[in-house]
């Protein structure tokens, strides 16, 4: 934590000076738009009812609740990936990667510090988005608090874990936009943020299962929409944690060589 907390503080100082309110508006607007559009489609096109096929595929007939949880998870995922995965390439662009690597501090607590910033920001943003959802008439059932907490922790590990190898890819490739947007598109299609993955062909469904966000979403929905006890959500929680930790370990092993590639590319004389 000796590195994590100073990094959290540094990031807050930089963020508040660089972006102020615009930093929060972008992600929040995406979440609100997702829920708002789902609400309009549900009432204007669906006549206030989801088809039977949806209930069978999603495990719930509550379409708006399903999308609201998905939108909250999406906000959290995008925020975490954008900050944790881009932390090192941002250092590189700002000319501070070498001074960062030169210090004896380990990468994991440094990235945890960046992740904590995403986490605190997302909590506030999700509360605002949920308030909007309630305001437009989405009914959110009381969640099982223990399952919700466990799902939140597992989802945090999962998204953090997947961000670390992505960070290595970004600094190796020397670019962020193609890498991050490819992941966002893949996750949007495969993980079930706004529609059940059961609608997908089997190969894509299995591909989605390789991303820990998919099982994290199932656990979050079980906690919030189904009021499921911890034991019922445990298989998804364990899968999510195992995948997240696997990505994290691979990412941490890739990060050192990736940093050297980035520094080497910076100058070879």
């Amino acid at each position: 934590m000796a590195t994590a907390m100073p990094t959290l503080r540094r990031n807050w100082l930089v963020t508040m000076r660089a972006y102020q309110w615009t930093y929060f508006v972008g992600t929040l607007a995406t979440g609100i738009l997702t829920v708002g559009l789902a609400y309009l489609a549900y009432h204007s096109i669906g006549g206030g009812r989801a088809g039977g096929g949806f209930a069978a595929a999603a495990g719930t007939a509550d379409y708006l609740g399903y999308v609201t949880v998905g939108a909250a998870a999406s906000m959290f995922t995008v925020r975490m990936v954008l900050w944790v995965a881009k932390a090192q390439i941002t250092e590189q662009r700002e000319g501070t990667l070498e001074s960062q690597v030169l210090a004896p501090a380990r990468r994991l607590p440094y990235l945890v510090g960046v992740g904590l910033q995403s986490l605190t920001t997302t909590v506030v943003e999700v509360v605002v988005m949920l308030a909007f959802a309630v305001m437009i008439g989405v009914r959110l059932p009381a969640p099982d608090p223990v399952t919700l907490l466990a799902a939140f922790v597992a989802a945090s590990v999962a998204v953090f874990g997947i961000s670390v190898p992505l960070s290595a890819i970004m600094i190796t490739a020397g670019e962020a936009h193609i890498t991050q947007n490819t992941l966002f598109v893949a996750m949007g299609l495969l993980c079930g943020f706004t529609f059940p993955p059961a609608y997908l062909p089997d190969p894509l469904r299995w591909l989605g299962e390789a991303l820990p966000v998919t099982s994290a979403l199932r656990a979050l929905r079980a906690a919030t929409l189904d009021h499921a006890p911890l034991s019922a959500a445990a298989p998804d929680l364990l899968l999510c944690l195992a995948l997240g930790l696997a990505y994290l370990i691979v990412g941490l092993r890739l990060l050192g060589p990736a940093e050297r590639v980035a520094i080497q590319r910076g100058g070879s004389a």
Partner: protein
């Protein structure tokens, strides 16, 4: 002591996504063996592309060598990188290495945390370093509002935040105003006196001559010479230049000057007075003055220009192959 043995670094040919660029691999460092003792400033010189920055980055643990070993007080820079990082720091000129949207004080605080400097001493050390680099009044100003020189000074303070046992300086005075550069040289000399081992690369060779007791000269990654700046300059046998102006022409003087055996150019200055320029591997100023006076000449001006370290480096660097 920092010791490198048979250090080599090869950069592979560049690749695009689908194919190699067709270029060949580049050998940036080629069998370099150096020793950087504590308590002294050691110079590393060479022309652009000689491999100085790559060498420094390898010693700083930022890059891995292709082959060869580097130890810092017995610690291997690849295997024991984290322990080595606690003992060293790097200051590179012309690079930012500090956060633009933090103040100078916040930058030093953050890096102090990364180096695990105890909180009890960090505040005092930050104040001391800000004073040292002349930034106490700008301590709470955002770095994005600093001039280039101020950023460089902050980068120097960052490089000293962990009180390194070894300091790697890669063009540290690049972009600094002359008084600040002079102050930095004084700081480097003082650090060396206090026991810090310093490795310095600089294009300002007067700086190297002033600070370094021992200098390594490299060319295309290979060591071509080493020694004190004086010994290196003397070793090249480059000519000393002596410029002489007489009050009036005297044939006996021309004969006496010619007898010294040096390469001689004669001419007239703006006021029509005879001038002689002598080039010789030895300093002929004393012999020349004696010979001129004995021949009845009246000396108006006598200027001696010994070869500089810069002349020596240029002479040692073989011309690059034409490709």
């Amino acid at each position: 002591m920092i010791v490198t043995r048979e250090l080599r670094k090869t950069y592979p040919a560049k690749r695009t996504l689908f194919r190699r660029s067709g270029g060949t691999e580049t050998r940036a460092v080629d069998g370099l063996s150096l020793s950087i003792p504590p308590g002294a400033v050691t110079g590393l010189l060479g022309l652009n592309g000689a491999g100085k920055t790559t060498t420094i980055k390898i010693i700083a643990t930022l890059l891995h060598p292709t082959t060869g070993t580097i130890t810092v007080d017995g610690l291997d820079v690849v295997r024991d990188a984290r322990a080595v990082r606690r003992r060293i720091n790097l200051i590179a000129g012309g690079e930012r290495m500090v956060y633009a949207r933090l103040t100078g004080r916040e930058n030093l605080w953050y890096f102090g945390q990364l180096y695990d400097v105890p909180r009890a001493t960090l505040r005092a050390r930050i104040d001391e370093l800000l004073e040292l680099v002349g930034l106490p009044d700008a301590a709470d100003t955002l770095v994005e509002r600093y001039s280039r020189g101020m950023r460089q000074r902050l980068s120097i303070a960052r490089g000293l935040i962990n009180q390194p046992a070894y300091l790697l300086l890669d063009e540290p005075t690049l972009g600094l105003d002359a008084p600040i550069a002079r102050d930095l040289r004084a700081v480097v000399a003082r650090l060396a006196q206090e026991g810090v081992g310093v490795l310095l690369t600089s294009h300002y060779l007067a700086e190297v001559e002033e600070l370094c007791g021992h200098v390594y000269v490299i060319d295309r990654g290979r060591l071509v010479a080493e020694g004190s700046p004086t010994a290196l300059t003397a070793g090249t046998r480059l000519p000393h230049t002596v410029e002489l102006t007489l009050a009036e022409a005297a044939p006996a003087v021309s004969v006496a000057v010619g007898a010294l055996g040096a390469e001689v150019e004669t001419g007239l200055d703006a006021e029509g007075r005879p001038t002689y320029v002598l080039r010789s591997p030895d300093d002929l100023a004393g012999e020349l003055a004696t010979a001129v006076v004995r021949a009845g000449g009246a000396i108006v001006r006598l200027e001696v220009n010994p070869p500089t370290l810069e002349d020596a480096i240029l002479a040692m660097a073989a011309p690059a192959p034409v490709s």
